[in-house]
Amino acid sequence: MHNVLLRSIWLAAVLISSASADLLSDSAPGYGELGYTLPAIGSYSLPALGEAGNGTVLNGDGKQQSLHDLFNDRYALLAFIYSTCSDVNGCPLSSHVFYKIKSAMKRDAELADRLKLISLSFDPEVDTPEVMKLYANNFRYAGSAGEWQFITTASHQALQPILQSYNQVIQREVDSSGKASVGYSHVLRVFLIDPQKRIRNIYSVDFLHHDLIINDVKTLLMQAQNQGRLLKAALSLPESSKLSKPGDDKQGYEQESYVTRSLDLELRQGQAADLISFIEKPPLGLPPVPVPGNNPISREKIELGRKLFYDRRLSLNDTFSCAMCHVPEQGFTSNELAMAVGIEGRSVRRNSPTIYNSAYAALLFHDGREQTLEQQVWGPLLARNEMANPSIGYVLEKIRKIDDYEGSFEAAFDGRGVSMETLGMAIASYERALVSGSSPFDHWYYGDDKQALPASAQRGFELFVGKAGCVACHHIGDKHALFSDNALHNTGIGYRESMGIVPETQPVTVAPGVTLQIDRSVIEQVGEPAPTDVGLYEVTQNPNDRWKYKTPSLRNVALTAPYMHNGSFSTLREVVEFYDNGGVANELLDPLIRPLGLNESEKQDLVTFMQSLTGGNVDTLVADAFAAPVGDVGKGDPSWVHGTDVEVR
């Protein structure tokens, strides 16, 4: 036949072209080589484009399953297809591209492990699970690497919410009678979904190419891994303590991956410890605990001091104990407040210092105005914005009238009853026992255990004593280390606050991963003005002492966030950044503080080093605190109202 001959010539031409181009000349880029160079993996970001919708689907075995469960906490590439699709640049293109990705999975275990391919039919009438299974059979011999599932839904009703949530408009094409369906018209879209079920990219025909998709997945994997590493680094040493964390641990709240870690108070188990043993034999890395000659240590004093420390009745209105700012499981400070909040919500202008190792502090309070724990105790008891007792006598009279203290002071102090002195001595004895050492650093440095410190922390130590110069103030001795020089320095933080040097906007995290830049003027409308604080000058009245604050010990520093005298830094990383920048310039800036020129990994190493300073006995001390009685008003106690008896509530 004539026509056949002519057509054969034409066919030969087609075959030649298809042999070289593999497929069609006007086919989508996904069938061929990518016509452009991809940006480097990790060099760009793929912000979430919204939540990936959910719905009920039928898997290859015809079983009902939620689409989200099918994602199985992996990255998912989801294509909407129908098996009878006749548009080469539609469903077959998605299959072709998926096939290329599956082939890449054979060579790339990470890709195979982390990415899942899903073809979801939008034609439930024709594409029954049986049909979809025939598609899946396709890959029976394509190697086990990489999963590609062909799924469908039970009905149009089951499908509709899924189509809607992915904004897939599908039109049924009908024949001239308007009744019979002869196909569908749809705009091809393939969705890249992350393990948190957020859409990270949507590929249309012109961008559906395996190289681009793999590049995107690798970018997301790299960024997730980096984020995970930062998160892990931030959390790595708190892990060395099981108990030392807030009941509602908000660490990492600024990251989208944050999940609630609220602890059940019912599960909190106390375990009393023989605290005196820590004073008699301090943990590795700590010097002998200084004990004043007029207040020799005893179990009775520690026990009495511990009871007083957790007793809410020691405040004006029976609500506020020492432990409410020095929270045992929050590093004996408060992880959740930059500056403390006292009785009835009254603001305190500085950050709660930790009680850990306060036994070694030659100066107390951030401005160093007190010298002994015995005396220091009375500061918060009498401060009107802390425990707010109106007088010394008020406190002593109240304790004398509380039945459960009857005889306990006498027993601990050779017959001496409660007095300004014995009360201070008792609480000081408990605080003195909260010594914490034997950290990974101590085992490495003083215990000669080469394995105790990870390499990063060892590098951090070299920086700490070398390039970064931290050790100039945070001393490390030959036999022990207190990580403090017991002196006061001007780092510029106080100066900055006093001068009102604040950025125009402040980041405020309102939900996990959602941080807004709030204009200063808005914050000032609802916030209190910054308190006046000039540090040591308030004590000495020497103008040269303005904005000097005490060097805190760095022991357990990973547990005692936030940092600095005003809690202005949430993380150790921020503290390192601050010192790396040379503090805040002012005429009284301590000459030891200067820009350090640290690179990123050096900063991380310093953080890791500081995280290695968490004491090995932290959980013992916290569990002991959990076992302590919490003093609360009970029958027969004096009421703070009119001095009458308390009515049992």
């Binding site: 036949m1 026509n3 056949v4 002519l6 057509r7 054969s8 034409w10 066919l11 030969a12 087609v14 075959l15 298809s18 042999a19 593999d22 497929l23 069609l24 000349s25 006007d26 069938y31 098996s83 009878t84 699709c85 006749s86 548009d87 080469v88 469903c91 077959p92 293109l93 299959s95 072709h96 096939y99 009438e125 024709v126 029954t128 049986e130 049909v131 025939l134 598609y135 059979n137 396709n138 029976r140 011999y141 394509a142 094409e173 024949d175 001239s176 019979a180 369906s181 002869v182 196909g183």
Partner: protein
């Protein structure tokens, strides 16, 4: 795809009925069928018992998809050599009005001598298409000719006549070859 002008002229010669195909989802999936082969002999699927069948649909005037699919299947068959007699390729016309057995024979032989072209009446073809869930629709063109939109999957039928896998259009011959070799090995 540029269709040569002469080709269009020949398209004008043919006129055909409007064909649309629908099916109930209760229709059996795959299975036995009867058509006419390119030597004008009656054909039944059961004749190929014991062989692995590569079944696909199209039409000889098809400008792009079918030649590609045919070329792919031909490449697979050529690669099989020693096992070639255990495999049979079948190309079913969805355009029986134009695709007579003779046209089919000439056409498939351009690609591979072992391929068998099948055609039949409109009804016979529509029945097979329904069984295998092949969607096709005739498109009238302004010049009076027509083309047929159709789904272009490849259906693999085992030696017992059971549909065992469907390969979506767009897979490279290498994949089809791996699948065919796997199925052959499985059936001994």
């Amino acid at each position: 795809m540029v269709v040569p002008a002469k080709h269009v002229l020949f398209l004008l010669i043919f006129s055909a009925l409007s064909i649309t195909v629908t099916w109930a989802n209760t229709e059996e999936l795959g299975g036995e069928f009867s058509l006419t082969d390119h030597n004008n002999n009656p054909f039944e699927l059961r004749q190929l018992q014991g062989k692995l069948v590569l079944l696909f649909f199209g039409y000889t005037y098809c400008p792009d998809i079918c030649p590609t699919e045919l070329a792919n299947v031909a490449a697979v068959l050529n690669e099989l050599d020693d096992q070639g007699d255990r495999v049979q390729g079948l190309f079913v016309s969805l355009d029986p009005g134009r695709d007579s057995p003779e046209v089919m024979r000439d056409y498939v032989h351009y690609f591979n001598k072992g391929l068998v072209g099948l055609t039949g009446s409109e009804d016979e073809v529509a029945q097979v298409a329904r069984q295998y869930r092949v969607n096709y629709k005739r498109h009238e063109r302004e010049d009076g000719g027509y083309s047929i939109d159709h789904s272009a999957n490849l259906y693999l039928i085992d030696g017992k006549g059971k549909l065992t896998a469907v390969v979506p259009y767009g897979m490279p011959p290498k994949h089809i070859l791996d699948l065919v070799r796997g199925l052959l090995a499985e059936s001994g």
